[in-house]
């Protein structure tokens, strides 16, 4: 079956512009996570969705970052007024249910470069 997909795979933008990153989770997966992978910071959690609600936004680095999920499926991560430090690979993961021992399935990521 289809895995987690993300688009675009690469995004180059100029400082100050807004960007939208999309994640299509595996069908039927209720939990969705965004992570960021950057040099020097490793892999860090950004936000978690259970269905369409986001009970944990604690990892969003600033109010320039926001995310939504509609229909319990597709999620969009929006970064406003991008800065060079936002350059990273943004990873999305989904899981069929919540639980500490549940495997998360990762997408290939979106590489964001802010010039």
């Amino acid at each position: 079956g289809a895995g987690v997909s993300q688009s675009p795979s690469n995004k180059v933008t100029e400082k100050g512009k807004d960007v939208e990153l999309r994640c299509d989770p595996i069908s039927g997966h209720t939990a969705l996570y965004w992570y960021r992978q950057s040099l020097g910071q490793g892999l860090e959690f950004l936000i978690y969705f259970q269905g369409n609600s986001a009970p944990d936004k604690s990892g969003l680095p600033s109010d320039r970052f926001s995310a939504e999920r509609t229909g319990g499926s597709v999620s969009t991560l929006t970064i406003q007024r991008t800065q060079q430090e936002d350059s990273a690979v943004y990873l999305c993961a989904s899981s069929p249910r919540t639980g500490m021992d549940n495997e998360q399935f990762f997408g290939p990521g979106t590489r964001l470069t802010v010039l």
Binding site: T98, D101, E103, Q104
Partner: protein, 113 residues
């Protein structure tokens, strides 16, 4: 709070020799632990997971890991390295509440011919 520490940022082994990637965890309760692998320009793939059913966990591609509570360790091993094992490996702890992952800093494995 949970955390994981990967003790080596880089490991080099010769093809056909054993692999040992070290991970220590900290958790206030019985943890769920995972090892993921990331090949260059590829997504993260689950190698194996520990969820208290058995302390020795077998994963894909001949990898296994042993949960040692007394040592708070979850080291990843493979008896014989293959060139295709060259990748970055992440030790991960699952958290309660929102079940987000906390990642270690990664170990880059290099396999020499």
């Amino acid at each position: 709070a949970q955390s994981v520490t990967q003790l080596d940022s880089h490991v080099s082994v010769s093809e056909g020799t054993p692999v040992l990637l070290r991970c220590n965890y900290s958790s206030s309760y019985s943890p769920s632990l995972f090892w993921y692998v990331q090949h260059p320009n590829k997504g993260l793939q689950l190698l194996l997971k520990y969820t208290s059913a058995a302390t020795l966990v077998k994963g894909i591609n001949g990898f296994e890991a042993e949960f040692k509570k007394s040592e708070t360790s979850f080291h990843l091993t493979k008896p014989s390295a293959h060139m295709s094992d060259a990748a970055e490996y992440f030790c991960v702890v699952g958290t309660s509440g929102t079940y987000k992952y906390i990642f270690g800093t990664g170990t880059r494995l290099k396999v020499l011919a």
